[in-house]
Protein backbone atom coordinates (compact mmCIF):
# COMPACT_ATOMS: atom_id res chain seq x y z
CA UNK A 1 0.00 0.00 0.00
CA UNK A 2 1.49 3.31 -1.02
CA UNK A 3 1.50 6.38 1.12
CA UNK A 4 -1.20 7.91 -1.01
CA UNK A 5 -3.55 5.01 -0.51
CA UNK A 6 -3.03 4.98 3.21
CA UNK A 7 -3.67 8.68 3.51
CA UNK A 8 -6.64 8.33 1.28
CA UNK A 9 -8.09 5.58 3.43
CA UNK A 10 -7.59 7.45 6.68
CA UNK A 11 -9.23 10.50 5.16
CA UNK A 12 -12.18 8.47 3.94
CA UNK A 13 -12.48 6.84 7.37
CA UNK A 14 -12.54 10.20 9.10
CA UNK A 15 -15.13 11.43 6.68
CA UNK A 16 -17.29 8.40 7.32
CA UNK A 17 -17.00 9.03 11.06
CA UNK A 18 -18.14 12.59 10.49
CA UNK A 19 -21.04 11.42 8.40
CA UNK A 20 -22.14 9.19 11.27
CA UNK A 21 -21.84 12.15 13.58
CA UNK A 22 -24.00 14.17 11.25
CA UNK A 23 -26.68 11.51 11.43
CA UNK A 24 -26.51 11.51 15.21
CA UNK A 25 -26.70 15.28 15.41
CA UNK A 26 -29.50 15.38 12.86
CA UNK A 27 -27.82 18.16 10.95
CA UNK A 28 -29.87 19.87 8.31
CA UNK A 29 -29.13 20.07 4.65
CA UNK A 30 -28.40 23.41 3.11
CA UNK A 31 -27.34 24.74 -0.26
CA UNK A 32 -24.38 27.05 -0.33
CA UNK A 33 -23.76 29.15 -3.37
CA UNK A 34 -20.25 30.43 -3.94
CA UNK A 35 -19.94 33.06 -6.59
CA UNK A 36 -20.29 33.98 -9.43
CA UNK A 37 -18.25 36.84 -8.03
CA UNK A 38 -16.34 35.77 -5.01
CA UNK A 39 -12.93 36.90 -3.89
CA UNK A 40 -11.78 33.34 -3.56
CA UNK A 41 -12.66 32.24 -7.05
CA UNK A 42 -10.21 33.51 -9.60
CA UNK A 43 -12.82 35.35 -11.55
CA UNK A 44 -16.41 34.53 -12.15
CA UNK A 45 -16.98 30.90 -11.34
CA UNK A 46 -20.01 29.77 -9.48
CA UNK A 47 -20.00 26.70 -7.31
CA UNK A 48 -23.13 25.22 -5.83
CA UNK A 49 -22.50 23.07 -2.77
CA UNK A 50 -25.09 21.08 -0.94
CA UNK A 51 -24.09 20.77 2.68
CA UNK A 52 -24.94 18.38 5.44
CA UNK A 53 -23.85 20.06 8.61
CA UNK A 54 -20.42 21.25 7.70
CA UNK A 55 -19.74 18.65 5.06
CA UNK A 56 -20.21 19.03 1.38
CA UNK A 57 -22.28 16.19 0.02
CA UNK A 58 -22.58 17.42 -3.51
CA UNK A 59 -20.88 20.18 -5.40
CA UNK A 60 -21.11 21.41 -8.90
CA UNK A 61 -19.28 24.17 -10.70
CA UNK A 62 -21.34 26.36 -13.01
CA UNK A 63 -19.08 27.56 -15.76
CA UNK A 64 -19.88 29.88 -18.61
CA UNK A 65 -19.86 33.28 -16.95
CA UNK A 66 -16.74 34.15 -18.90
CA UNK A 67 -17.59 32.45 -22.16
CA UNK A 68 -16.36 34.76 -24.85
CA UNK A 69 -16.71 32.50 -27.85
CA UNK A 70 -13.07 32.07 -28.86
CA UNK A 71 -13.55 29.02 -31.02
CA UNK A 72 -16.23 30.71 -33.08
CA UNK A 73 -14.33 33.99 -33.29
CA UNK A 74 -11.21 32.31 -34.65
CA UNK A 75 -13.23 31.25 -37.66
CA UNK A 76 -13.70 34.86 -38.72
CA UNK A 77 -10.14 35.98 -38.05
CA UNK A 78 -7.06 35.51 -40.18
CA UNK A 79 -4.21 33.37 -38.87
CA UNK A 80 -2.05 36.26 -37.63
CA UNK A 81 -5.06 37.83 -35.96
CA UNK A 82 -5.86 34.76 -33.93
CA UNK A 83 -2.93 35.33 -31.56
CA UNK A 84 -4.55 38.57 -30.44
CA UNK A 85 -7.51 36.55 -29.28
CA UNK A 86 -5.85 33.51 -27.79
CA UNK A 87 -3.57 35.72 -25.72
CA UNK A 88 -6.50 36.41 -23.52
CA UNK A 89 -7.43 32.84 -22.68
CA UNK A 90 -5.10 32.37 -19.75
CA UNK A 91 -4.55 36.00 -18.94
CA UNK A 92 -1.83 35.54 -16.39
CA UNK A 93 0.59 33.83 -18.73
CA UNK A 94 -0.47 35.31 -22.02
CA UNK A 95 2.56 34.56 -24.11
CA UNK A 96 2.27 30.87 -23.39
CA UNK A 97 -1.13 30.79 -25.08
CA UNK A 98 0.19 32.03 -28.38
CA UNK A 99 2.93 29.47 -28.74
CA UNK A 100 0.92 26.28 -29.34
CA UNK A 101 -1.30 27.98 -31.88
CA UNK A 102 1.64 29.41 -33.77
CA UNK A 103 3.38 26.04 -33.65
CA UNK A 104 0.28 24.38 -35.07
CA UNK A 105 0.12 26.90 -37.90
CA UNK A 106 3.82 26.44 -38.56
CA UNK A 107 3.34 22.70 -38.62
CA UNK A 108 0.69 23.05 -41.27
CA UNK A 109 2.85 25.39 -43.32
CA UNK A 110 5.84 23.10 -42.80
CA UNK A 111 8.14 25.86 -41.67
CA UNK A 112 10.10 26.23 -38.51
CA UNK A 113 11.22 29.29 -36.63
CA UNK A 114 14.97 30.01 -36.68
CA UNK A 115 16.94 28.77 -33.66
CA UNK A 116 17.27 32.23 -32.15
CA UNK A 117 13.52 32.72 -32.24
CA UNK A 118 12.99 29.31 -30.69
CA UNK A 119 15.22 30.08 -27.73
CA UNK A 120 13.68 33.50 -27.19
CA UNK A 121 10.25 31.93 -27.41
CA UNK A 122 11.19 29.45 -24.75
CA UNK A 123 12.54 32.20 -22.51
CA UNK A 124 9.40 34.29 -22.86
CA UNK A 125 7.29 31.18 -22.35
CA UNK A 126 9.02 30.48 -19.08
CA UNK A 127 8.84 34.12 -18.02
CA UNK A 128 5.11 34.07 -18.51
CA UNK A 129 4.97 30.89 -16.46
CA UNK A 130 6.81 32.66 -13.67
CA UNK A 131 4.46 35.64 -13.93
CA UNK A 132 1.50 33.31 -13.77
CA UNK A 133 2.56 31.02 -10.97
CA UNK A 134 4.02 33.79 -8.80
CA UNK A 135 0.59 35.36 -8.61
CA UNK A 136 -0.87 31.96 -7.80
CA UNK A 137 1.56 31.59 -4.92
CA UNK A 138 0.71 35.03 -3.64
CA UNK A 139 -2.99 34.47 -4.01
CA UNK A 140 -2.75 31.24 -2.10
CA UNK A 141 -2.20 33.20 1.08
CA UNK A 142 -5.29 35.31 0.50
CA UNK A 143 -7.43 32.20 0.31
CA UNK A 144 -6.31 31.36 3.81
CA UNK A 145 -6.61 34.85 5.21
CA UNK A 146 -2.98 35.86 4.88
CA UNK A 147 -2.70 39.13 3.01
CA UNK A 148 1.07 39.67 2.87
CA UNK A 149 2.02 37.10 0.20
CA UNK A 150 -0.16 38.72 -2.42
CA UNK A 151 1.57 42.04 -1.95
CA UNK A 152 4.91 40.33 -2.33
CA UNK A 153 3.66 38.59 -5.45
CA UNK A 154 2.39 41.78 -7.02
CA UNK A 155 5.65 43.51 -6.20
CA UNK A 156 7.93 40.84 -7.61
CA UNK A 157 5.72 40.05 -10.54
CA UNK A 158 6.27 43.57 -11.79
CA UNK A 159 9.89 42.71 -12.53
CA UNK A 160 8.78 39.99 -14.89
CA UNK A 161 6.07 42.14 -16.44
CA UNK A 162 8.65 44.84 -17.04
CA UNK A 163 10.81 42.34 -18.87
CA UNK A 164 7.93 41.10 -20.97
CA UNK A 165 7.01 44.68 -21.71
CA UNK A 166 10.59 45.51 -22.58
CA UNK A 167 10.81 42.70 -25.09
CA UNK A 168 7.30 42.70 -26.53
CA UNK A 169 5.76 46.07 -25.79
CA UNK A 170 2.85 44.69 -23.83
CA UNK A 171 2.70 44.10 -20.12
CA UNK A 172 -0.07 41.62 -20.32
CA UNK A 173 -1.02 40.60 -23.78
CA UNK A 174 2.19 40.65 -25.78
CA UNK A 175 0.93 39.31 -29.12
CA UNK A 176 4.57 38.92 -30.02
CA UNK A 177 4.68 35.53 -31.66
CA UNK A 178 4.44 35.38 -35.41
CA UNK A 179 4.08 32.49 -37.78
CA UNK A 180 7.71 31.81 -38.69
CA UNK A 181 9.37 33.53 -35.77
CA UNK A 182 9.02 36.57 -33.61
CA UNK A 183 8.01 40.13 -34.29
CA UNK A 184 11.23 41.64 -33.06
CA UNK A 185 14.59 40.87 -31.63
CA UNK A 186 15.36 41.43 -27.99
CA UNK A 187 16.15 45.01 -26.99
CA UNK A 188 19.61 46.02 -25.87
CA UNK A 189 20.47 45.20 -22.29
CA UNK A 190 17.46 42.93 -21.87
CA UNK A 191 19.50 39.83 -21.17
CA UNK A 192 21.37 41.40 -18.27
CA UNK A 193 18.18 42.79 -16.83
CA UNK A 194 16.54 39.41 -17.05
CA UNK A 195 19.32 37.84 -15.08
CA UNK A 196 18.76 40.34 -12.28
CA UNK A 197 15.00 39.95 -12.32
CA UNK A 198 15.14 36.16 -12.28
CA UNK A 199 17.37 36.34 -9.20
CA UNK A 200 14.71 38.49 -7.52
CA UNK A 201 12.08 35.93 -8.40
CA UNK A 202 14.20 33.16 -6.95
CA UNK A 203 14.36 35.14 -3.73
CA UNK A 204 10.60 35.54 -3.92
CA UNK A 205 10.26 31.76 -4.13
CA UNK A 206 12.41 31.40 -1.03
CA UNK A 207 10.33 33.98 0.82
CA UNK A 208 7.11 32.24 -0.11
CA UNK A 209 8.64 28.92 0.87
CA UNK A 210 9.36 30.27 4.34
CA UNK A 211 6.31 32.42 4.72
CA UNK A 212 3.66 30.08 3.43
CA UNK A 213 4.94 26.58 3.05
CA UNK A 214 6.76 26.68 6.36
CA UNK A 215 3.70 28.05 8.08
CA UNK A 216 1.96 25.68 10.43
CA UNK A 217 -1.53 26.96 9.67
CA UNK A 218 -0.90 26.62 5.97
CA UNK A 219 0.35 23.08 6.39
CA UNK A 220 -2.52 21.95 8.53
CA UNK A 221 -5.03 23.38 6.10
CA UNK A 222 -3.33 21.89 3.07
CA UNK A 223 -1.78 18.59 4.05
CA UNK A 224 -3.96 15.56 3.58
CA UNK A 225 -6.81 17.69 2.22
CA UNK A 226 -8.32 17.13 -1.18
CA UNK A 227 -6.37 14.05 -2.10
CA UNK A 228 -6.62 13.08 -5.74
CA UNK A 229 -5.12 9.67 -6.55
CA UNK A 230 -3.24 9.19 -9.79
CA UNK A 231 -5.88 7.08 -11.52
CA UNK A 232 -8.64 9.57 -10.79
CA UNK A 233 -6.39 12.37 -11.99
CA UNK A 234 -5.84 10.63 -15.32
CA UNK A 235 -9.53 9.80 -15.60
CA UNK A 236 -10.49 13.43 -15.29
CA UNK A 237 -7.72 14.54 -17.59
CA UNK A 238 -5.77 16.60 -15.11
CA UNK A 239 -2.50 17.81 -16.48
CA UNK A 240 0.43 19.91 -15.48
CA UNK A 241 1.20 20.45 -11.84
CA UNK A 242 -2.05 18.85 -10.71
CA UNK A 243 -1.14 15.58 -12.37
CA UNK A 244 2.45 15.71 -11.20
CA UNK A 245 1.28 16.30 -7.65
CA UNK A 246 -0.55 12.99 -7.87
CA UNK A 247 2.67 11.25 -8.80
CA UNK A 248 2.24 11.17 -12.57
CA UNK A 249 5.63 11.89 -14.07
CA UNK A 250 4.47 13.65 -17.18
CA UNK A 251 5.65 16.95 -18.53
CA UNK A 252 5.09 17.93 -22.13
CA UNK A 253 8.15 20.15 -22.08
CA UNK A 254 10.30 17.09 -21.62
CA UNK A 255 8.25 14.29 -23.15
CA UNK A 256 7.35 15.85 -26.42
CA UNK A 257 9.36 16.79 -29.45
CA UNK A 258 8.32 20.33 -30.30
CA UNK A 259 10.48 23.13 -31.63
CA UNK A 260 11.11 24.77 -28.29
CA UNK A 261 14.53 24.64 -26.71
CA UNK A 262 13.94 22.95 -23.40
CA UNK A 263 16.58 20.33 -24.10
CA UNK A 264 19.27 23.01 -24.03
CA UNK A 265 18.73 23.54 -20.35
CA UNK A 266 19.28 21.25 -17.43
CA UNK A 267 16.18 21.08 -15.27
CA UNK A 268 14.04 18.66 -13.36
CA UNK A 269 10.42 17.61 -13.48
CA UNK A 270 9.15 17.49 -9.93
CA UNK A 271 6.57 15.03 -8.81
CA UNK A 272 4.99 14.42 -5.44
CA UNK A 273 3.44 11.17 -4.27
CA UNK A 274 0.76 12.66 -2.00
CA UNK A 275 -1.76 14.23 -4.34
CA UNK A 276 -3.13 16.57 -1.70
CA UNK A 277 -3.56 20.33 -1.86
CA UNK A 278 -0.17 20.88 -0.34
CA UNK A 279 1.52 18.78 -2.99
CA UNK A 280 -0.14 20.71 -5.78
CA UNK A 281 1.02 24.03 -4.42
CA UNK A 282 4.47 22.73 -3.63
CA UNK A 283 4.92 21.43 -7.15
CA UNK A 284 4.05 24.85 -8.51
CA UNK A 285 6.58 26.47 -6.22
CA UNK A 286 9.28 24.09 -7.42
CA UNK A 287 8.25 24.68 -11.01
CA UNK A 288 8.74 28.39 -10.63
CA UNK A 289 12.23 27.70 -9.39
CA UNK A 290 12.87 25.37 -12.31
CA UNK A 291 11.59 28.01 -14.70
CA UNK A 292 14.02 30.51 -13.22
CA UNK A 293 16.75 27.96 -13.79
CA UNK A 294 15.69 27.35 -17.38
CA UNK A 295 15.63 31.06 -18.12
CA UNK A 296 19.06 31.72 -16.64
CA UNK A 297 20.56 28.83 -18.56
CA UNK A 298 18.93 29.73 -21.85
CA UNK A 299 20.06 33.34 -21.59
CA UNK A 300 23.63 32.13 -22.13
CA UNK A 301 22.68 30.06 -25.13
CA UNK A 302 20.78 32.42 -27.40
CA UNK A 303 22.30 31.76 -30.83
CA UNK A 304 22.96 34.55 -33.32
CA UNK A 305 20.87 34.89 -36.41
CA UNK A 306 17.53 36.15 -37.60
CA UNK A 307 14.34 35.88 -35.57
CA UNK A 308 12.07 35.37 -38.55
CA UNK A 309 12.10 32.93 -41.42
CA UNK A 310 10.86 33.78 -44.87
CA UNK A 311 7.09 33.74 -44.90
CA UNK A 312 4.80 35.15 -47.56
CA UNK A 313 3.33 38.56 -46.83
CA UNK A 314 -0.19 37.27 -46.92
CA UNK A 315 -0.24 34.10 -44.90
CA UNK A 316 -2.30 31.30 -46.34
CA UNK A 317 -2.10 28.06 -44.48
CA UNK A 318 -2.35 24.94 -46.66
CA UNK A 319 -5.17 22.52 -46.20
CA UNK A 320 -4.78 20.10 -43.34
CA UNK A 321 -5.18 19.47 -39.65
CA UNK A 322 -2.68 19.86 -36.88
CA UNK A 323 -2.68 19.33 -33.14
CA UNK A 324 -0.03 20.93 -30.99
CA UNK A 325 -0.10 21.10 -27.25
CA UNK A 326 2.40 22.55 -24.84
CA UNK A 327 2.90 22.55 -21.12
CA UNK A 328 1.35 25.84 -20.15
CA UNK A 329 1.45 27.29 -16.64
CA UNK A 330 -1.86 25.62 -15.84
CA UNK A 331 -1.28 22.34 -17.62
CA UNK A 332 -1.64 20.98 -21.08
CA UNK A 333 -2.95 23.51 -23.55
CA UNK A 334 -3.49 22.45 -27.09
CA UNK A 335 -4.94 23.69 -30.33
CA UNK A 336 -6.46 21.51 -32.97
CA UNK A 337 -6.35 23.64 -36.07
CA UNK A 338 -8.21 22.72 -39.23
CA UNK A 339 -7.35 24.74 -42.28
CA UNK A 340 -9.07 24.69 -45.64
CA UNK A 341 -6.35 26.66 -47.36
CA UNK A 342 -7.86 30.04 -46.62
CA UNK A 343 -6.65 33.11 -44.83
CA UNK A 344 -8.10 32.02 -41.53
CA UNK A 345 -8.61 28.71 -39.79
CA UNK A 346 -11.68 26.71 -40.66
CA UNK A 347 -12.03 25.43 -37.12
CA UNK A 348 -9.97 25.68 -33.98
CA UNK A 349 -10.56 23.44 -31.03
CA UNK A 350 -8.94 24.72 -27.87
CA UNK A 351 -8.03 22.32 -25.13
CA UNK A 352 -7.30 24.25 -22.00
CA UNK A 353 -6.10 22.88 -18.71
CA UNK A 354 -8.42 24.76 -16.36
CA UNK A 355 -11.53 23.16 -17.76
CA UNK A 356 -10.27 19.78 -16.65
CA UNK A 357 -9.04 21.22 -13.39
CA UNK A 358 -12.55 22.21 -12.45
CA UNK A 359 -14.27 19.21 -13.92
CA UNK A 360 -12.78 17.24 -11.05
CA UNK A 361 -14.39 19.61 -8.54
CA UNK A 362 -17.55 17.52 -7.97
CA UNK A 363 -15.37 14.53 -7.18
CA UNK A 364 -12.80 16.37 -5.11
CA UNK A 365 -15.27 18.33 -3.03
CA UNK A 366 -17.41 15.39 -2.07
CA UNK A 367 -17.22 14.91 1.68
CA UNK A 368 -14.89 17.76 2.52
CA UNK A 369 -15.58 20.52 5.00
CA UNK A 370 -16.68 23.97 3.96
CA UNK A 371 -13.39 25.72 4.86
CA UNK A 372 -11.52 23.16 2.77
CA UNK A 373 -13.60 23.98 -0.29
CA UNK A 374 -11.70 27.19 -0.82
CA UNK A 375 -8.26 25.69 -0.31
CA UNK A 376 -8.98 22.79 -2.62
CA UNK A 377 -10.27 25.12 -5.30
CA UNK A 378 -7.26 27.35 -4.83
CA UNK A 379 -4.83 24.46 -5.08
CA UNK A 380 -6.48 23.06 -8.20
CA UNK A 381 -5.78 26.44 -9.75
CA UNK A 382 -7.91 27.57 -12.59
CA UNK A 383 -8.29 30.77 -14.51
CA UNK A 384 -11.72 31.65 -15.65
CA UNK A 385 -10.83 32.64 -19.14
CA UNK A 386 -9.14 29.31 -19.45
CA UNK A 387 -12.24 27.41 -18.34
CA UNK A 388 -14.91 29.10 -20.37
CA UNK A 389 -12.81 30.43 -23.24
Amino acid sequence: MTLTDRQQLSYIASQAADARLNVELETEGMTLNIGPQHPATHGTLRIICRLDGEQVVWAEPVAGYMHRGYEKLTEVRTFPQVTTLVNRIDWLGSFANEVPFILAAEKLMEIEAPPRAQVIRTILFELSRIANVSLFLGDLGVQMGAITPVFLAFRDREYILNLIEGATGGRFHPNFDRIGGLKDDLPKGWIEETRGAVKKLEQFCDTIDDLLFGNEIFQSRMRGIGIIPADIATDYGLSGANARASGIDWDLRRDQDIPLSYDLADWKVWTHPDGDSWARCWIRLQETRESCKIVTQLLDQIPAGPVMTKVPRIIKVPEGEAWVSTENPLGEMGYYVVSKGGLGPFRVKIRSASFNNISIVPWALKGVYVPDVITILASLYFILGDIDR
Partner: protein, 214 residues
Protein backbone atom coordinates in the same frame (compact mmCIF):
# COMPACT_ATOMS: atom_id res chain seq x y z
CA UNK B 1 -28.00 63.95 4.75
CA UNK B 2 -31.53 63.19 3.91
CA UNK B 3 -32.08 66.92 3.53
CA UNK B 4 -29.59 67.25 0.73
CA UNK B 5 -31.97 66.52 -2.11
CA UNK B 6 -34.76 68.63 -0.72
CA UNK B 7 -32.89 71.86 -0.09
CA UNK B 8 -29.74 73.58 -1.26
CA UNK B 9 -26.67 73.33 0.88
CA UNK B 10 -24.54 76.42 1.32
CA UNK B 11 -21.56 76.38 -1.03
CA UNK B 12 -18.78 75.98 1.57
CA UNK B 13 -20.59 73.07 3.11
CA UNK B 14 -21.06 71.43 -0.29
CA UNK B 15 -17.40 71.86 -0.94
CA UNK B 16 -16.48 70.29 2.36
CA UNK B 17 -18.83 67.36 1.84
CA UNK B 18 -17.63 66.81 -1.69
CA UNK B 19 -14.01 66.97 -0.66
CA UNK B 20 -14.49 64.42 2.07
CA UNK B 21 -16.52 62.20 -0.21
CA UNK B 22 -13.91 62.25 -2.93
CA UNK B 23 -11.08 61.26 -0.61
CA UNK B 24 -12.84 58.42 1.13
CA UNK B 25 -14.03 56.36 -1.77
CA UNK B 26 -14.62 52.73 -1.09
CA UNK B 27 -14.29 50.86 -4.33
CA UNK B 28 -15.89 47.55 -5.03
CA UNK B 29 -13.67 45.59 -7.37
CA UNK B 30 -15.88 43.85 -9.86
CA UNK B 31 -13.08 42.01 -11.58
CA UNK B 32 -14.31 39.87 -14.42
CA UNK B 33 -11.45 39.02 -16.74
CA UNK B 34 -7.88 39.91 -17.60
CA UNK B 35 -8.38 43.52 -16.61
CA UNK B 36 -9.08 42.33 -13.08
CA UNK B 37 -5.42 41.48 -12.69
CA UNK B 38 -4.38 44.96 -13.75
CA UNK B 39 -6.99 46.34 -11.40
CA UNK B 40 -5.52 44.15 -8.70
CA UNK B 41 -2.11 45.55 -9.53
CA UNK B 42 -3.44 49.10 -9.32
CA UNK B 43 -5.49 48.60 -6.18
CA UNK B 44 -3.57 45.97 -4.35
CA UNK B 45 0.06 46.23 -5.24
CA UNK B 46 2.71 48.22 -3.47
CA UNK B 47 3.97 49.72 -6.71
CA UNK B 48 0.79 51.62 -7.55
CA UNK B 49 -0.79 51.85 -4.10
CA UNK B 50 -4.19 53.40 -4.64
CA UNK B 51 -4.69 54.19 -0.97
CA UNK B 52 -2.52 57.26 -1.28
CA UNK B 53 -5.31 58.72 -3.41
CA UNK B 54 -7.81 58.14 -0.66
CA UNK B 55 -9.40 55.11 -2.24
CA UNK B 56 -10.01 52.10 -0.08
CA UNK B 57 -10.15 48.97 -2.18
CA UNK B 58 -11.50 46.37 0.21
CA UNK B 59 -15.15 46.80 1.15
CA UNK B 60 -16.82 43.65 2.32
CA UNK B 61 -19.78 43.97 0.02
CA UNK B 62 -21.20 46.26 -2.65
CA UNK B 63 -23.52 47.68 -0.02
CA UNK B 64 -20.57 49.44 1.55
CA UNK B 65 -19.05 50.74 -1.65
CA UNK B 66 -19.07 54.22 -3.15
CA UNK B 67 -18.03 53.26 -6.61
CA UNK B 68 -17.64 50.12 -8.58
CA UNK B 69 -14.85 49.37 -10.99
CA UNK B 70 -16.17 47.02 -13.64
CA UNK B 71 -13.07 45.55 -15.20
CA UNK B 72 -13.22 42.97 -17.89
CA UNK B 73 -15.58 41.26 -20.23
CA UNK B 74 -19.22 41.37 -19.28
CA UNK B 75 -20.89 38.39 -20.86
CA UNK B 76 -24.59 38.05 -21.40
CA UNK B 77 -24.68 35.46 -18.66
CA UNK B 78 -22.95 37.81 -16.24
CA UNK B 79 -24.92 40.93 -17.12
CA UNK B 80 -27.84 40.33 -14.72
CA UNK B 81 -25.39 39.92 -11.86
CA UNK B 82 -23.72 43.23 -12.75
CA UNK B 83 -27.07 44.96 -12.83
CA UNK B 84 -28.02 43.50 -9.51
CA UNK B 85 -24.74 44.56 -7.95
CA UNK B 86 -25.35 48.09 -9.14
CA UNK B 87 -28.79 48.10 -7.64
CA UNK B 88 -27.42 46.94 -4.31
CA UNK B 89 -25.02 49.83 -3.99
CA UNK B 90 -26.26 52.77 -1.96
CA UNK B 91 -26.57 56.26 -3.39
CA UNK B 92 -24.58 58.27 -4.27
CA UNK B 93 -22.71 55.80 -6.43
CA UNK B 94 -20.34 55.95 -9.33
CA UNK B 95 -19.00 53.49 -11.84
CA UNK B 96 -15.72 53.16 -13.68
CA UNK B 97 -15.61 50.96 -16.72
CA UNK B 98 -12.13 49.56 -17.18
CA UNK B 99 -10.89 48.07 -20.40
CA UNK B 100 -12.15 47.85 -23.93
CA UNK B 101 -14.34 44.89 -23.12
CA UNK B 102 -16.34 46.72 -20.51
CA UNK B 103 -16.39 49.86 -22.63
CA UNK B 104 -17.60 48.43 -25.88
CA UNK B 105 -16.85 44.75 -26.28
CA UNK B 106 -13.19 45.15 -27.19
CA UNK B 107 -11.65 42.21 -29.02
CA UNK B 108 -14.97 40.40 -28.78
CA UNK B 109 -16.92 43.03 -30.65
CA UNK B 110 -18.37 40.34 -32.89
CA UNK B 111 -18.78 37.59 -30.33
CA UNK B 112 -22.18 36.06 -29.74
CA UNK B 113 -21.90 35.88 -25.99
CA UNK B 114 -20.37 39.18 -24.95
CA UNK B 115 -22.31 42.25 -23.88
CA UNK B 116 -20.93 45.05 -26.01
CA UNK B 117 -20.40 47.60 -23.31
CA UNK B 118 -21.40 47.57 -19.69
CA UNK B 119 -22.99 51.00 -20.22
CA UNK B 120 -25.94 49.18 -21.67
CA UNK B 121 -26.65 47.94 -18.16
CA UNK B 122 -25.38 50.51 -15.72
CA UNK B 123 -24.53 54.20 -16.10
CA UNK B 124 -20.79 54.78 -16.36
CA UNK B 125 -18.97 57.85 -15.10
CA UNK B 126 -15.44 57.21 -16.29
CA UNK B 127 -14.25 55.07 -19.16
CA UNK B 128 -10.69 53.81 -19.04
CA UNK B 129 -9.71 52.57 -22.49
CA UNK B 130 -7.02 49.98 -23.16
CA UNK B 131 -6.67 46.25 -23.39
CA UNK B 132 -5.78 46.05 -20.58
CA UNK B 133 -5.30 49.64 -19.46
CA UNK B 134 -2.11 50.12 -17.53
CA UNK B 135 -2.62 50.52 -13.80
CA UNK B 136 -1.54 54.14 -14.19
CA UNK B 137 -4.45 54.69 -16.56
CA UNK B 138 -6.87 53.30 -14.03
CA UNK B 139 -5.40 55.57 -11.38
CA UNK B 140 -5.93 58.51 -13.69
CA UNK B 141 -9.52 57.41 -14.08
CA UNK B 142 -9.88 57.40 -10.31
CA UNK B 143 -8.41 60.91 -10.10
CA UNK B 144 -10.82 62.14 -12.78
CA UNK B 145 -13.70 60.63 -10.85
CA UNK B 146 -12.54 62.42 -7.74
CA UNK B 147 -12.46 65.70 -9.62
CA UNK B 148 -15.97 65.11 -10.79
CA UNK B 149 -17.14 64.40 -7.27
CA UNK B 150 -15.46 67.55 -6.02
CA UNK B 151 -17.29 69.72 -8.51
CA UNK B 152 -20.60 68.03 -8.06
CA UNK B 153 -23.90 69.61 -7.21
CA UNK B 154 -24.90 67.27 -4.44
CA UNK B 155 -28.58 68.06 -4.64
CA UNK B 156 -28.73 67.09 -8.30
CA UNK B 157 -26.80 63.91 -7.66
CA UNK B 158 -29.07 62.92 -4.85
CA UNK B 159 -32.20 63.75 -6.77
CA UNK B 160 -31.38 62.54 -10.20
CA UNK B 161 -29.51 59.34 -9.99
CA UNK B 162 -30.85 55.88 -10.48
CA UNK B 163 -34.51 56.43 -10.79
CA UNK B 164 -35.70 53.11 -9.44
CA UNK B 165 -33.74 53.04 -6.20
CA UNK B 166 -34.58 56.58 -5.36
CA UNK B 167 -38.17 56.17 -6.32
CA UNK B 168 -38.39 53.25 -4.02
CA UNK B 169 -36.87 55.17 -1.12
CA UNK B 170 -39.25 58.03 -1.73
CA UNK B 171 -42.13 55.65 -1.98
CA UNK B 172 -41.10 54.13 1.31
CA UNK B 173 -40.97 57.53 2.93
CA UNK B 174 -44.35 58.39 1.50
CA UNK B 175 -45.76 55.18 2.85
CA UNK B 176 -46.49 53.72 -0.56
CA UNK B 177 -44.39 50.62 -0.09
CA UNK B 178 -43.46 48.70 3.02
CA UNK B 179 -39.90 47.90 4.01
CA UNK B 180 -39.69 44.78 1.85
CA UNK B 181 -40.59 46.79 -1.21
CA UNK B 182 -44.12 45.40 -1.38
CA UNK B 183 -46.52 47.90 -2.82
CA UNK B 184 -49.09 49.30 -0.47
CA UNK B 185 -50.54 51.66 -3.04
CA UNK B 186 -49.45 51.19 -6.59
CA UNK B 187 -47.55 54.32 -7.67
CA UNK B 188 -47.72 55.54 -11.22
CA UNK B 189 -45.22 53.83 -13.45
CA UNK B 190 -42.29 55.98 -14.62
CA UNK B 191 -43.16 57.51 -17.95
CA UNK B 192 -40.77 58.10 -20.79
CA UNK B 193 -40.60 61.80 -19.94
CA UNK B 194 -39.48 61.16 -16.38
CA UNK B 195 -36.91 58.68 -17.59
CA UNK B 196 -35.58 61.24 -20.05
CA UNK B 197 -35.55 63.85 -17.34
CA UNK B 198 -33.42 61.55 -15.23
CA UNK B 199 -31.09 61.02 -18.16
CA UNK B 200 -30.68 64.74 -18.68
CA UNK B 201 -29.51 65.14 -15.10
CA UNK B 202 -26.78 62.59 -15.61
CA UNK B 203 -23.50 64.27 -16.50
CA UNK B 204 -21.53 63.32 -19.59
CA UNK B 205 -19.10 60.46 -18.98
CA UNK B 206 -15.38 61.11 -18.85
CA UNK B 207 -12.95 59.20 -21.05
CA UNK B 208 -9.41 58.83 -19.75
CA UNK B 209 -7.07 60.24 -22.38
CA UNK B 210 -9.94 62.00 -24.08
CA UNK B 211 -10.09 59.75 -27.12
CA UNK B 212 -12.78 57.37 -28.30
CA UNK B 213 -13.71 54.74 -25.76
CA UNK B 214 -12.25 51.83 -27.68
Amino acid sequence: MGLVDKSRLPAPLTKLFNMSRSYSLWVYQWGLACCAIEMGAAFGSPRYDVMRLGVIPLPASPRQADFVCVSGTVTDKMAPAVKRLWEQMPEPKYAISMGSCANCGGPYWDSYSVTKGVDQIIPIDVYVPGCPPRPEALLEGVVLLQQRIKNEDMAAKWRGDEFTTLQRTRAMEAGEVDRDGELINVPTAPTLETAQAVDSVRPEPIVVGGGPIE
